[in-house]
Symmetry: C2
Subunit: 326 residues, 2 copies
């Protein structure tokens, strides 16, 4: 949850003046998004999301994120769309921060994802991958394998205070991932943070994807690997093969995977586990207790990582390669 910056009505009125979105009626800070301040704004023309970009989002990346949302919407994907001012701008400044007005997307994220959700997620992710292929901007993944060691170096000295033996285990895993990380697999724009709270449903139907602020150019299969971590483990830590199968099968109805991608999935899933483990560990060790941020337990993802290390082929996730759509 995140409302880091409060704003006054006068500031907001000034900011909204160049937009043709009607008369301001209300705005409420909402508990959505971890990196930014978000407000649900009602005007005489409807509902909008106002996002103030806090310091974790780099200003130079905003044209990529906002342009991508617009590009995807033009391709027919349901996602929030940045609203333009009369002058065509999508980015302004409010309370000293970059800020944008985004269309409001109805829908609810699944607190308890089921296999049906995973299947729809797989389809939407594949559509996202295809739709992004001709997006003209590029952004490297700032949290891919090359970024993990610098992050780990900041955490390593205190890692054993979280759990004894952590330093040795993570060092070994990181070294192996660095050596074996694949290249040459199909790549393009990925979401890179498709956790359940970024995927909205209306009933059974996936009504849209949100929060593109980690989107970047990277391996398509890495996006799937993130989702295996984010959607396919139960609260007790058990891996749910039914959900993984649904996710992969849904994806392949839209974009069949290449054999090399399938072979790489277990390793990519280990990488995705480590990526979320490391950023959570960093927050765990550095964010002061009084901050208005819920610190998430990093160990959840180390447990995922340990599971993926036991997997040799994607068949062990439960995915029956013989049933794949060819």
């Amino acid at each position: 949850m995140a409302v880091y910056t409060d704003i006054s009505e006068a500031e907001l009125r000034d900011f909204l003046a160049p937009y043709d979105i009607g008369e301001l009626l209300s705005y409420k800070g909402i508990a959505e998004g971890v990196e930014n301040s978000n407000f649900l704004v009602h005007t005489s023309q409807g509902s909008f999301i106002l996002t103030l970009y806090e310091k974790r989002v780099e200003r130079k990346d905003l044209p990529f994120f906002l342009g991508l949302m617009e590009h995807l919407a033009q391709k027919g994907l349901t996602c929030p769309i940045p609203i333009h001012t009369g002058d065509g701008a999508v980015l302004g400044e409010l309370a000293g921060r970059p800020a944008a007005v985004i269309s409001f997307l109805e829908g609810m994220w699944p607190r308890r994802p089921m296999a049906g959700h995973c299947r729809e997620l797989g389809k939407a992710m594949a559509r996202f991958h295809l739709a992004g292929r001709d997006f003209e901007l590029r952004r490297d993944n700032a949290l891919s394998v090359a970024a993990w060691r610098p992050l780990w170096d900041l955490c390593a000295p205190r890692a054993d205070s979280v759990q004894k033996g952590l330093a040795l285990e993570v060092e070994a895993e990181l070294s192996e991932l660095e050596q074996r990380w694949p290249s040459g697999l199909p790549e393009g724009v990925i979401h890179a943070d498709l956790f359940p709270d970024n995927v909205f449903f209306l009933g059974e139907r996936l009504s849209g994807l949100i929060d593109f602020y980690f989107a970047c150019n990277d391996l398509f299969a890495y996006d799937i690997a993130v989702c295996l971590n984010a959607w396919c483990f139960e609260k007790d830590g058990a891996f749910n093969g039914t959900k993984a199968v649904a996710l992969l099968a849904g994806y392949e109805t839209i974009r069949p995977l290449e054999q090399e991608e399938i072979d790489a999935l277990p390793l990519l899933a280990r990488g995705a586990s480590l990526r979320f483990f490391l950023t959570r560990l960093y927050d765990w060790l550095t964010v002061p207790d009084g901050a208005m941020v819920v610190k998430k337990d990093p160990m959840e993802f180390l447990r995922h990582s340990r599971f993926h290390r036991t997997i040799r082929t994607v068949g062990a996730y439960g995915y029956d390669l013989s049933e794949r759509a060819q």
Copy 2:
């Protein structure tokens, strides 16, 4: 800000089924209200507030709060109205907590209140006091003078850790308030927590009052005393007489004060300062740092208290008694 309890779509659908408010489209936890979890709910029929009452609100008081909102609305005051189920219920249970669906009130609370806001606030508060006179339920003020000593007894041993000398100062002030606290003044239902974030405006117009979860039976003038504390001090601690005059004058256009009320205001204002000082101090000393609650500085209200102790008559607030509407 407060979203203490998250809820799943399935739970929410079940809860909303007996209400005739259309199809659920979205719900967002909002950063509003300190004691409860609040969600802004969109349905095919419009916007609603869903409130889950957390442990600080006593379940036995809910019929008073919800009944009062309905009573005030029937009297023509703009305030949120509890929505009834088909069976006429206004209170249900969701995620193990009492919960209610309330109409959504457009409007924005003034981050920087001006004298014009204070005048409108005064009018609305007087209308509230008049409208509540024939409300049939009764609730004693659980945070009036009799409650302060038990609260202080819990804080006193550690008070000097917040500021040296605090224990002696507060003890003396509390004793004097206990001895001199007035009785026999006009009383009825008061809001008791009319801080700016509970008063919505659309432009210059006051569009409604919200958050009735401290409402109770007490002296009308005590409600004014709370507002003198909540609206008439600047961020630097300076008292703004122009705002106080506007507040009192606005009030008196609707309900002229009796002389005894006017005479009691400085003492009541000291009491209101101490009440908010004590609850903040208690939270300051007891709420763990990791909790998702912004702990407010208790000393702000002790400084208000010190100011009010210098005041002998309401004329010293700047209010010209000769100009009063008689």
